[in-house]
């Protein structure tokens, strides 16, 4: 199981709070895993701080994915898994995106590796990433209609 010691995750939270009081809107501790909830407007700036701050150095973006909480609004939750190779630590960032306006800042300017991860979310959830240089469908054909991983898309497909 992923081992994240509590005090080291606390260091990240403290650092981000000191950096910008609004950056951390909530801290979720679940099964020893720390998730920092970030307001949508501050997502890219917070990610940049996590990467470039000498105290944090989260240089690897491991994963990005989306959860659809339909019909609850804001329905989309974006989850980013960050790894700090020099400090041997993992942390999750989360932000909420509404269904009426599914647009969020791309993290491509921070990590180049966000490219395909965001294309996959765009493809399967229909969330647009502002500032992504190559936002095209990646898995589905170009003429596919709808976003199949949304909860209101039937499992057996649309007829």
């Amino acid at each position: 199981m992923t081992q994240v010691s509590k005090e080291s995750a606390g260091v990240v939270v403290e650092h981000l709070r000191a950096w910008n009081a609004k950056a951390v809107s909530q801290v979720i501790e679940y099964r020893g895993q720390t998730t920092i909830v970030v307001p949508k407007e501050l997502l890219r700036a917070t990610a940049q701080e996590c990467k470039s701050s000498p105290a944090l150095r989260f240089n690897l973006l491991s994963d990005a994915t989306c959860v659809d909480r339909f019909p609850v609004e804001p329905r989309f939750e974006l989850n980013y898994q960050l790894v700090s190779l020099p400090r041997v630590q993992r942390i999750s960032l989360r932000t909420s995106v509404s269904g009426q306006q599914p647009i969020v800042d791309s993290l491509m300017p921070v990590w180049k590796g966000a490219n395909w991860l965001e294309r996959e979310i765009f493809d399967l959830f229909g969330i647009r990433f502002e500032g992504h240089t190559d936002l095209r469908r990646i898995l589905l054909p170009d003429d596919f209609e709808g976003a199949p991983l949304r909860r209101d898309f039937p499992v057996e497909g649309k007829r």
Partner: protein
Amino acid sequence: MTTVDTAVGTAKTMVLNMGPQHPSTHGVLRVLLELDGENVVSAVPDLGYLHTGIEKSCEDKTYSQVITLTDRMDYLNPLGNNLVYCLAVEKLLGLEVPKNAQYIRVMMVELQRISSHLVWLGTHALDMGAMSVMLYCFREREEILKIFERFSGQRMMTSYIRIGGLALDPPAGWRAMVKRFLDMMPPRIDEYEQLLTGNQIWKGRLQGVGYLSPEDLVDLSTTGPGLRAAGIPYDNRKMFPYSSYEEFDFDVPTRTESDCFARYLVRVAEMRESVKIVRQAMAKITDNGPTKAEAPGIVPPQREKMKTEMEALIYHFKIFTDGFSPPPGEVFVAVESPRGELGCFIASDGSPKPLRVHFRGPSFINLQALPFMVEGELIADTVACIGTIDIVLGEVDR
């Protein structure tokens, strides 16, 4: 999948369509190469030919039913996929698996790593024009598949690792079988190295090809042998140990050249380390030790108990009709697959079916580095780069 404007070629360049039925793309990868003579100007990978919507299917299955789907993603590493999914569900449930079952899991996953690297080595050598290595590699892989068949009844899609433990107890006579394989394997790895490591053609095709700096690789989220060949010893088994890996003594092989040859050397060295780990795991496993956690309602009861105990029968019925409901929450678990960091994200809403299951496929993410590796190189080097990234299209497309 995408339709690409084939008119992008300028007067000087042409666009060549490589795949999706090209043998060196290991499945159905399509790469659009913009060429200037034989030099690659740009490369655009085009995915999705094998997309089956596994993540969507998971949302309509109970937690135990998802296991069979995970086998079919990275079909060279089904046990690793089972493991990451089961670890994630166990984390969601807060379920502790008996040590003995953890050791058996480690043994199986390391055998799987050897078999996956063998397929990689064989097919990559085939791409590079060395026919015979493939035959040698598949000969040894067959022995591993026989071990899997004896343990689980299946050669490839084993579904052997289950939530809370294992599907079955180890079969009679397994120690002799695994030991025979372990004794045979190191000299066989020497054989492959004799054929390839000093081979001038092999070196000529791989050395200095597909270089990327360690900083670029990290920025592109590359993990696994590709990153370790650039000198960064990132291995989940060491850095974020799971399934009792912290009790095992093994090295993380690294190189610093960050070219295709270094990636080859790292994988061969990893096979030797895996043999070491399997040996240690064998010593740790106790005969007739527990292989399942004591968790009524989650882990199916033993057949014999169902015939004598009412509760066991009820639990069995409940597990296979209703399933079980983990508490609401989200977990992310990562393991080291033969290709890199294999992650599983599960969001539970407290119902018997997962709200969301997402797999971080290392093949998918490592493939992002391909355009950066091949720019300015030859078409033949593109084949070498695709090979040493080691993609499995089942996992890329899911």
